[in-house]
Symmetry: none
Subunit: 404 residues, 2 copies
Amino acid sequence: MANFDLMRRLTLDTGGKILLLVMDGVGGLPREQGGPTELEAAHTPNLDRLAREGSCGLSIPVTRGVAPGSGPAHLALFGYDPLVYEIGRGVLEATGIGLAVNPGDVAIRGNFCTVDGNGVITDRRAGRISTEEGAKRVELLQGISLSGVQFDVQIAKEYRFAVVMRGEGLNSAIADTDPQQTGVKPFPARALDPAAEKTADLTNQFLAEVAKRLKGHEPANMATLRGFAIDPALPKYADVYKLKAACVAVYPMYKGVSGLVGMDIIETTAHDTTADEFNRVAKIWDKYDFVFCHIKYTDSRGEDGDFDAKVKVIEGVDEALPILLDMNPDVMIVTGDHSTPATYKAHSWHPVPTLLWAPETHMTDRAEAYGERECMTGALGHFMAADLMPLALAHAKRLKKFGA
Amino acid sequence: MANFDLMRRLTLDTGGKILLLVMDGVGGLPREQGGPTELEAAHTPNLDRLAREGSCGLSIPVTRGVAPGSGPAHLALFGYDPLVYEIGRGVLEATGIGLAVNPGDVAIRGNFCTVDGNGVITDRRAGRISTEEGAKRVELLQGISLSGVQFDVQIAKEYRFAVVMRGEGLNSAIADTDPQQTGVKPFPARALDPAAEKTADLTNQFLAEVAKRLKGHEPANMATLRGFAIDPALPKYADVYKLKAACVAVYPMYKGVSGLVGMDIIETTAHDTTADEFNRVAKIWDKYDFVFCHIKYTDSRGEDGDFDAKVKVIEGVDEALPILLDMNPDVMIVTGDHSTPATYKAHSWHPVPTLLWAPETHMTDRAEAYGERECMTGALGHFMAADLMPLALAHAKRLKKFGA
C-alpha cells in the first residue's frame, strides 16, 4: 500500500507525464450466465489496443468485499488508504464547488426542502428545483453572520448547496438535521460532543434565519443540513509525489476530492460531453505532470440498471479516446473507482478492470482487450487501488531506486 | 484483511444465506510431473459446474509459505487474522467436546499414557485405547478439587481428554508435561512466568492425584498434559457479522473453533458420513444465516499419503453435494482450510483452491472446473483466507457501502 514517507523519499521532480482516466463504476457483471459484462459487450477498439499493448489487472478499491462510496474510492485511486484517510461529505461538497474549506472551518451539505405551515417536511428535495432556482434561494442566504461566525453559502446542483462556517472554536461533531423522511419536522442541530455545543447553537440560529429568509419561496422554503465536517488535511500531490496535477471532472464531488489532494481544478460545464472533457485535458496537458479525467455516466447508467446505456457510454469514451492518445502521454491509466454492475444497480465490491499503458516501461501480458475477464489474466494481477499511484510514478520514471 | 471495526460498521442484519463447505486439506499436488492433483483427478461434475458458473481463486491461509495447523487455518476462514488471534490447543480441545472455557479458566489437553513401576513412560498413547476405555479412566478422575480450584475432566477421543481448571488467580503460562518420547518420566508442570507458579503447583498436585487414581488401570495408568491455555475472547459472529451461525463437523477441534466464534454446534456422531453431515445441514438450514460444514477425511487421506483415497473422498463429497444444492443457498463457498498434498503427507502452505458461487452477484471467470490450475485463472485471484468472510457477506448483500 502506498506509503507517503517512502514516496517522498523516492519521487523525482522529473519524469514522464501521467494521464489517469477514470470511468466511474466501469466494472460490471454479465447480464446472463455465460454472457459478457458491459465492458466486454462494448465495441472499444482503442481501449482494447491499449490493453493488448500494455499491462492489465484488477483493482481492489478498499478491501475485498467492500463496495466504496465515490469519496473513498477516489482517495484510493489517488494513493490514499481510504481506511486511514476519511473525508466528511460536507467538505467534499464544498470543495467540489470551489468553496474553500480552511483549517478551523466546518463544512456542511445542505438540501432545500419544502415545509408546510407547521414546519413539517412535505418534500425533502423541494420538488427537485433547477440549479437556477436553487441559486436564487442561495442568494437570499448571503451574508449571514452570527456571533462572529460567518456562513458562506453556495449552490451545488439543483436543490443541493454547501455551507462553510468560518470563525473561532467551531466543531463538526453535529448530527444531521435531515430526518430522511417526510411528515416530520427537520431535527434541530444536536452536538454529538460537548465541544460542539456552541457550533450546534449557531447552526440552529442559522436555520432559524434560513426559515425566515426562505419564507414564501416555495417549493424551497426551508433547508436541512448534513455531513458536518472539517478539512481532513490530506497530504498534497506536490508534496508526496512532486507532481503538478490537475483535475478535469464535471461533477462537484470529484472536483472536491481532487482539490483536497492539491490538484488544480479545471473549469468545466455541466453540459460537457466526454469529448469536451478530453479537449479540456488536451488544452492544459502541457502545463501539468499529471491529469485526472473523470467520466461520470458509466456509473449513472449502471445505477439506473441500464446495461445497454452503460455500454454506449463506454463506446463513447472509446470513440473520443484519440483526443487523449494524440497527446502522447508517457503513462496512461484507464480504470474505474469501483464497479457498478447494471444488474446490481449500485456500487459493488467487484475488483475494477484496469489498464496501464506506458510504451517505454510497461510489461505486455496476455490480455487482448479491456474487460473483466481479460484483466484477470494480466500483468498487474489483483492489486490495491492505493498502489496505482506508485505504479504510475514508476512507469513514468519518477521513482528512484529504494536502497543501495 | 478483515477488519472487525469495519465489518461492525458495514454489516446489515438482513441478506442472503451463506454456506461454507470446508474440505479439510483439499489442496494437493500432482503425483507425477505433468499429472493431475487429487482435486484435478477426481470426477466432480457438481463442483465443476459451480466453479464454471461462479468465481474461483486461491486462498492463502496465514501468509505465503506458511503451512497452518487446523486451528489457525479455520480462524482465518472465519475472518480472524491468525497472526493476531491465537487459540491455545487446550481451549480448542475443551470447547470442541462441549466443555466450556470461561474467562479465568485454564484449559489443558490431556493424553493417557502407560508408565512402568518407576513412573517412566513406556507408551505415550496408552496403547491407543478405545474412546470407551478412555471414558472409564475419565470417570475415575471426576470431582478433583484442590485449594478451591476445580478440575473438570472430559473424554475427547481414544486416549485424549481435556481438563478445565476453574478457580481464582489461574495462569496458563505453563510448559507441557508431555516429554514427547518414551523411556523418560513426564515433566513436572513448570511455570513459564512467576505469575503461573500457583497454577503449576496445583497442576502437579492434580497429576499426583491422577497417578494415584489410575494406578492399576493399565495401559492407561498415567496422563500427560499440554497446551495450557485461556479463553481467547474472540469477537463473535453475531457481533461482527450480524450472523446467526451454526457448525456441522464431526471432529471436536472444528467444533471447538466454531464455538469460540459464537456458532451453534450441531450434534453429530463420529460415524457421520458426508451425506449424513449434509443432511444435518439441510435440517437446520432454515434456522441460520450461515452454516459451516466441515469434511475431515480429505485431510486424513492426504496425511496418509494416499492419493487415490483422497480422490475418492472428494468424489464422495461431489456425489452428496445435491443435498446442499437443493437448499438453494444464496452464497455457497467450497474451499479447504489448507492444502494436504498426498505426496507431502502433511499440511502444506500451497494456496487452497476456492470457489464462490452466488448466482445473483458472482462474477463468472474462465475457470472451467474446481481444481488448482483452474482456480489460478479465476476472478478471486490469490487472496488471504481471512478476506473470505467479507467476500461472502458482500455476495450475500449483507454489507453496506463504505463512505459516501
